[in-house]
Symmetry: C2
Subunit: 341 residues, 2 copies
């Protein structure tokens, strides 16, 4: 059939040469019919009078030469689906939600992200789940976004930290439970107590024991990521300067619901642990879905740490932090490639 008349090919690899216009146009026609008009390759082959194999090769060449450009964009609302998907791919996450929220007004950002987290949670949770919650300022707006919710049990994962505005973890847990109609497993206890004995006594209280007994059956944990710096961690802000420095000295870099991690995302044992009413890092890590809210580009290294440490496998965040994470991950990747190569 083929005459084989045409012999040479241009020097650049992808098979399509500038000095073969007919080939290029043929590829474009195939690409047009395949991608834009949605025809199958056999149909295209029939219409172009060539074999379907040639069609396939032309399409490959067209894509490799950059003639066909495919991009994934945002569909609407302020959810950036493309970035979300990229986070999932790059970090191997189970869930990611990136929202386009301006990050200059921090309280507004916090509020919007909390609502977004509520949306996301409402969307991924099912009646068979058991929800665990820890405290974070960003989560106080979460219930506002909940319209309907399954009647899941909801477990308080840590003691409470007093907040200036009077909001607290118990309100949050009970608020969510109220929307869904599920049972709220709450208890009255602070997150940090003066000594280990007090903590032990508190843990023996029936309500506390009940809640912590449920922790192993928690399927989704909703919490926030703190960075061990002023104003980036509820716990940091609650400690004395001496305590803060002591913690930093032993490598504390990040905290999640009162559990501490170093810069590589490895759980840390600290002198504070025995005085805290929390769900420890390794236990958190064993929860199937750990959804963390994080905001502010200042937290990117902390977020990277817990992602690498496989502590959290879901993120709710905003575009600028998402981009910062991807940039840092790329740098890291390149540095590693450079070192090994």
């Amino acid at each position: 059939m083929s005459t084989g008349y045409h012999a040479k090919m241009g020097r650049d690899m992808p098979g399509l040469s500038v000095d073969r216009p007919a080939e290029v146009v043929l590829a474009a026609r195939a690409a047009r019919q395949y991608y834009l008009e949605g025809l199958s390759k056999v149909d295209i082959a029939d219409r172009l009078g060539i074999s379907r194999f040639r069609v396939a090769r032309l399409l490959d060449a067209a894509r490799e030469s950059g003639m066909v450009r495919i991009e994934i964009g945002l569909p609407g609302g302020n959810l950036d689906a493309g970035l979300s998907a990229e986070l999932c791919s790059v970090f191997g996450l189970r869930h990611a939600f990136v929202f386009n929220v301006p990050d200059d007004d921090v309280p507004a950002l916090r509020q919007r992200l909390g609502e977004a987290a509520g949306q996301a949670l409402m969307d991924i949770i099912t009646p068979d789940d058991v929800l665990g919650m820890a405290w974070a300022r960003s989560l106080s707006g979460l219930t506002a976004a909940l319209t309907r919710f399954p009647p899941c049990p909801i477990v308080q994962l840590t003691g409470a930290v007093p907040q200036p505005d009077g909001s607290d973890l118990l309100d949050l847990v009970r608020g969510v439970a109220r929307v869904g109609g599920g049972r709220a497993h709450v208890f009255y206890a602070p997150m940090i107590v003066p000594d280990a004995e007090t903590a032990a006594a508190i843990r023996r209280q029936p309500d506390v024991a009940d809640a912590f007994a449920l922790v192993p059956s928690v399927t989704i944990a909703m919490l926030s990521i703190g960075s061990w710096q002023p104003d980036l961690s509820t716990i940091y802000d609650a400690l004395t300067p001496a305590e803060r420095e002591a913690m930093a000295a032993i490598g504390v870099h990040t905290d999640i619901g009162g559990a501490f991690f170093d810069a590589d995302g490895a759980p840390l044992t600290t002198p504070l642990d025995s005085r805290m009413i929390i769900t420890p890092g390794p236990v958190l890590a064993s929860i199937p879905t750990v959804l963390a809210v994080a905001y502010g580009t200042g937290k990117s290294s902390s977020v990277l740490a817990v992602l690498r440490g496989k502590i959290v496998n879901g993120l709710v965040t905003h575009s600028s932090l998402a981009r910062a994470l991807l940039d840092e991950a790329r740098e890291h990747h390149h540095a590693a490639a450079h070192a090994s190569g």
Copy 2:
């Protein structure tokens, strides 16, 4: 297994709702892995923990909602492959070559387009073809672009029209034949003679008869499209004002190698016919591949006419004329739809 917990869907059709972030992100992840990372749907299904059917539906939804954008662009050089393919699709052409050539400098445009036509011709012709050629100023630069060429027979399709610069059809035919080594079937005769008897006598000459005997076996014709206006048609320019008006009066709108057509692309019989040494319109139309060079947006209606009349099935042109053609075709289409609906 699905719990069926989620019930309602947003009001807009494509299946992806803004108030279901997880679904949207899932679709984006699927799209990312399918289009950008090149994974198969079953692999994606495994990674996302869903069935491959859901993956397919998510991909459909993502495309329909505009989340995945696919566009076909130009690969390099000055060939606009996307426009070329669009011309082919819209007009059902066998070949189309659209080049990005500035159209403000007409002689340069003509020259560049002629070379481009040479490139294109060189690319689509095979040793089994028989090439027919008619005259056009734009084709005089054609041989310059030919580097190698198969030894096809080359047939002169019409008599010659004297040109101010001394270039003519015989040079063109012999030039092409020289590059390829094929036989040039040329003859010495003008395109238009004073009366029918002279024309008949000329047609009986051995060289002329030889060439015209070959016309039915021509597989590719290379020619140009003229518009029945000053400076847009070699023949118009060669006639007297009285003859020009007489032709216009009987509906002559377009000429191709001395064959005349009305505004709908139907071949016309004119008083001039018996005095012309040409290949008639219906004969042209029976040639498998008729490649026409056309330039200047002023010719768009003539090009449309011969496209609609199925006279030519291949075009070599420049971007602005190509776009004008597509625009006019769209208008036509809309007008028709409006009238019928």
